[in-house]
Amino acid sequence: MEKKEFTISVFTEDQIGLLNRVSIIFTRRHINIESITASESEVKGVHRYTIVVNDAEDLVIKVVAQLDKQVEIVKSFYHETSEIVYQEIALYKLATSLIAAGGEAEKIVRKHNARFLSFDTEFTVIEKTGHKEETQRLFDELEPYGILEFVRSGRVAITKPMKEFAAYLAEIEIASAN
């Protein structure tokens, strides 16, 4: 089966060590995690991992089932990229002299609608939110001028289908036979 980009959302109880349990499931099947982000979800006490992978759908289905069966994972979903709204953020550190000169580098930053996050006499930090291709394009254009540091966040994603996670919580309670 052809490889594709999928975004997996994992809703979990707040428990030490759970990230390890999650990552083991990917490791065992040799699935490379492209990015992973963890945060609290809209339900109090429930955490949400957003995991991006590039793999065959039938494998992703099995991994999601495997995730789902972990005791402290409430529910996992996977979505194609078209089914989610997502964002990433990247930070770039440049020498302030590059920017202050009002040269090409500054023009590039403005052209990409990136934001100046902090100035210092020596260095400047620029922030750009966008999909990976966009933050990468800015990186590629700035690179010839010298980037001192670069970091990109994992993906955060909201799914388009309207069902809320809370509804799944309720469903789980009904699905339980006892």
Partner: protein
């Protein structure tokens, strides 16, 4: 208000008027176990778990502790106990090496869905992460092989963690859990109020069976010409003895077992057609690729069962009855998935199916049996006089002498396959083996656990000369506890199963499989276990009788053909229909 009495008296607790019940963490461990109905645990002491052992000393009248000779032995004993009783097996060990010695048994219990609670001591919480003496990250190490695990660093969390551990180990698809308790938590204080755990929000152990699935399954079964049942461990774990038998008998469908499902239906039941998989029977494998509806019950299509999956039952519609939804479509795609406990789903399906017989179809299995008898079984059970004793003839005699009523605990290798092929299992849950992990050294300690669970049943451990020496030290446990275990060593002076593969697939290059063995009788004598050794066929029958009927533990060593191979066999990568009879 709480009052704490610090003294060395038996119960360092005081219950005051407001119902506050302050005890130490170590005592809370023991009281939690008692609250879960535990009266027997297997373990090995050491520094970080000493407080709990100290507390156990006060409760010897309520909890019996069996000191095994190695922590691995404690896990297998707990497994043997769990497998024949359906209850949770409990083992306990110290931190560091004690904890790491549990890992093989935990992995075995995980892959064979065996309910087990392991309690480990851990260094004091302020030392965690500092490479303290005997500190290992057992929670991290055991994570891939436990259903759930947790580290407890405060006494007040002990009862809750143990309650959750028992609930998770036993409910749904069972499995091993580990509770790691720091030494300071064992010494701390807790207001002990034990509440059993009955629910974990994120966990659905018993999904509700969907009636549409039942109907779809029944429709397929009712219209099938050549339906075929494969049953696995799930039938035993689901406690579906009567439900399964009723379903099989009402539908008249030929039924074959995985080695973990063995003893869910008596071997000699008229619809039990035999063993699946690599060394299973001829018909059950061959006809998998001829049936029109395959009904898999509580089994997970292990590769030892399926052979090449791309050529496995592709002509058949597949109905999969399974509790764990992650097993559905994992290996073999199900046309109808019935997710839920098979005790419930079998009952519902039985109501929805017509009574049936499948004489012609059954006849095909019998024809295959005939061929297997001629090419394999007759010679295995009654070798010609010039041949050395075969494993099959020993098992056959043991089966007759024990009337198929014993619990057979097998180790891993040729003898395992032979025991399962030729013992006539008549009792429910009377087969204990290491299936998924194939752990050599499993049988001796597992037999000890099985015997402690059911003292009324004869327990016979069938072991190879190789596997016996992996946990041979558990003879010490038998000696000290004076229990009655029959140990059958089928000695071929080889790591037989590996040698067989070298014979068939590696040009007979017997690389490191030959064994120079000690005198097992001398060893048995050291542990005051009576023994006998048979080398000639003429002595075998009498020796087996004496072995089975002896009061107390007994070791019988039988010298069998050195280079005998187990057949039939599906070579790795071959299809079930390419099963070889020689």
């Amino acid at each position: 208000m709480k009052k704490v009495e610090k003294s060395n008296e038996k119960e360092s607790l005081l219950i005051d008027k407001e119902g506050i019940n302050v005890i130490t963490g170590k005592e809370a461990v023991v009281k939690s176990l008692i609250a879960e109905g535990v009266d027997l645990i297997f373990g090995y002491p050491g520094g970080a778990i000493m407080p709990v052992y100290d507390a156990l000393y006060d409760y010897q009248d309520q909890i019996k502790h069996i000191l095994t000779r190695h922590e691995q032995g404690a896990t297998h004993a707990a497994q043997g106990y769990a497998r024949v009783s359906g209850k949770v097996g409990v083992c306990i060990a110290t931190s560091g090496p004690g904890a790491t010695n549990l890992i093989t048994g935990i992995a075995d219990a995980q892959i064979d869905s065996t309910p087990m609670v392991c309690i480990t001591g851990q260094v004091a919480s302020h030392l965690l992460g500092t490479d303290a003496f005997q500190e290992t990250d057992v929670v991290g190490i055991s994570m891939p092989v436990t259903k759930w695990n947790v580290q407890v660093t405060r006494a007040e969390d002990i009862p809750g963690a143990i309650a959750k551990a028992f609930y998770i180990a036993k409910s749904g698809r069972p499995g091993p859990v580990l509770v790691d308790i720091t030494k300071d938590a064992q010494f701390g204080e807790v207001d002990f109020q034990y509440k059993k755990c009955t629910n974990v929000r994120s966990y659905v152990p018993q999904p509700k069976v969907k009636l549409e699935a039942i109907q779809a399954a029944a429709d397929l079964i009712n219209n099938a010409k050549k339906p075929y049942i494969l049953f696995g461990h799930g039938v035993l774990l689901g406690d579906a003895k009567e439900e399964f038998k009723t379903f099989v008998e009402k539908t008249g469908i030929p039924s074959a077992w995985t080695i973990m499902g063995l003893s869910a239906l008596p071997t000699d039941h008229y619809l039990n057609v035999g063993m699946l998989g690599m060394h299973g029977n001829y018909g059950p494998n061959l006809l998998t690729n001829e049936c029109d509806v395959l009904i898999a019950i509580g089994m997970r299509f292990d590769d030892r069962v399926t052979g090449d999956v791309s050529r496995y039952a592709s002509q058949a519609k597949v109905i999969h009855l399974e509790l764990d939804h992650a097993e559905i479509d994992k290996i073999i795609k199900a046309d109808v998935a019935v997710v839920g406990n098979c005790k419930t789903s079998l009952q519902l399906i039985t109501e929805a199916v017509k009574e049936g017989t499948h004489e012609e179809w059954l006849q095909k299995f019998r024809d295959c049996d005939e061929e297997e008898n001629q090419k394999v079984i007759n010679e295995e059970l009654h070798p010609s006089d010039d041949k050395m004793i075969s494993m099959g003839e020993v098992i056959n005699l043991v089966s007759e002498a024990s009337n198929g009523q014993a619990t057979i605990v097998t180790d891993v290798g040729q003898h395992q396959m032979v025991a399962q092929r030729y013992y006539n299992y008549k009792r429910w849950r009377s087969n204990v083996t290491s299936g998924g992990l194939g752990t050599m050294g499993f049988a001796l300690p597992a037999a000890i656990g099985a015997k402690f669970a059911q003292s009324e049943n004869q327990v016979i451990a069938v072991i190879g000369d190789g596997g016996f020496q992996m946990t041979i030290q558990e003879l010490g446990t038998i000696f000290q506890t004076k229990i009655d275990i029959k140990i059958l060593i089928l000695n071929n002076e080889f790591l037989g199963m590996v040698r067989q593969w070298q014979d068939l697939f590696f040009d007979k290059r017997y690389s490191s499989t030959e064994m120079v063995n000690p005198d097992f009788q001398t060893i048995a004598r050291g542990y005051a276990i009576e023994s006998n050794k048979v080398t000639e066929r003429e002595n075998l029958a009498a020796a087996v009788k004496e072995f089975v009927n002896h009061k107390g533990s007994y070791l019988l060593e039988v010298l069998v053909g050195k280079e005998n191979n187990v057949f039939p066999m599906i070579p790795t990568g071959a299809s079930v229909s390419e099963i070889r009879l020689d």
